[in-house]
Amino acid sequence: MRRNAPNKKPLIITAAAAALLLVLVIVGAGASHANFFENTLGSVLAPVQRTAASVFDAVGGFLRNLFNTTDADIENAKLKNELALKNRSLVEMEELRRENERLRKLLGFAQSAGIENGVTARVIGRPSGVYFRTFTLGAGSSSGVDVNMPVVCADGLVGVVIEVGSSWCKVTAVVDSTVAVPVMVERTRDTCIAHGVLNASGDENRMELHYLPADRRDLVPGDVLITSGIGGVYPKGIRLGTVTEVMTGDKSSINAYIAPSVDFAHLEELLIITGGGENG
């Protein structure tokens, strides 16, 4: 009489699934361009994500309007928009003025800063959880997007492209704790490094400022930080944020805390800089 042998099929399938997962993790680790498997699945997923994002944006907008009906609310929103636009214009004008001065001093230097080529892309995937701030955008290598291209929105610097598929790309936000951005204090022209940080106890969009020269620490809250162009990834002059708190003690390696100018919770349309700018 034959005894009932234990069913090994679940174990075999589990082992196969684990092996497949291991292979995918190893193959995908550190690659900046999507492999065939990732690209194919990503290309299939991108339209689905795009549609889902559109639907949820529409529903979110409808709900916001539904609860935002009083005259005061509407006026408040309008004034906030106007203020944001004016602030942006002021920063841009100030930067242009200073740039003009430098250009006059440096005869022969004729090319002004500015984004010449860009690809607009919609956010189709948002980060889940607190550890990594990676967005998926609906534009890829077929639109000219490549790794290390900076991504901006109307309010300032958003992040940098870290992985590209044919119709999608992944962008790490500047507030991600693995990202460092070379910046410059707009008022004093001192260069330093802004670093994202995982801050569990407070505002998750807060950044830290490091490596400001010890003899040049005349930072004040409200100072505007712009990209310095050092390193070649981020073009010079893009607004990053404002100083909210200055650290005065010598023991701390942190010079100041920064509030990014971009609202990362409400990103929709972004511009990927594919060319232009002083370092572009």
């Binding site: 679940p10 497949l20 997962l21 995918l24 993790v25 607190v130 990594f132 992985e163 693995t178 995982l198």
Partner: protein
């Protein structure tokens, strides 16, 4: 019908985790609906079909949303494995064991992601705050959500025909 319900539950969990919670600003402390669902499933049915679902769905989510392949797939795979340890070892209407298992699986996921963050060169401030204000509440909420899933689908899950229905995968 049961397969359709399972597919709808998985879709709802994905929508909650990747679209609704982030848009509501609940990413900081939110339950992991997929872990809660997969633990519920694996506790009831064993390795199959929870493990293949965890791996396939996890890889798809990683490609669509995450920075690395494995960020979702590995925690979901571990969750399905953890749940399957208790398969057939307690009465099917027990709510406590799946809830505790889901909470532990969610905590393991948090530790895994935190380790990946540190290995990627991430900076963090306040380890205790991260543990107290994010890891622990998120894990407990996942356990609570798992208990809720068991309560809501109790009658459905208790029917032995469910296991027969998915036996084709074995």
């Amino acid at each position: 019908m049961r397969k359709l319900l399972l597919a709808l539950c998985l879709l709802a969990a994905v929508l909650l985790d990747y679209l609704i919670f982030p848009r509501l600003g609940l990413s900081r402390v939110a339950p992991d609906a997929l872990i809660a669902l997969l633990v519920s499933l694996s506790v009831l049915t064993g390795l199959l079909p929870a493990v293949p679902i965890a791996v396939v769905l996890g890889v798809l989510l990683d490609i669509g949303f995450n920075r690395f392949i494995g960020m979702s797939a590995i925690p979901l795979f571990i969750s399905a494995l953890t749940g399957s340890v208790f398969y057939g070892r307690f009465y099917a209407d027990n709510i406590v064991i799946p809830a505790v298992t889901a909470a532990v699986a969610a905590f393991l996921k948090e530790l895994f992601l935190f380790a990946v963050l540190l290995l990627s060169g991430g900076k963090t401030s306040g380890y205790f705050a991260l543990f107290a204000l994010h890891m622990l509440p998120a894990s407990l909420l996942t356990g609570a959500l798992c208990a809720l899933i068991r309560l809501l689908f109790k009658n459905y899950l208790l029917r032995s025909s469910f296991r027969l229905d998915i036996d084709y995968l074995r």
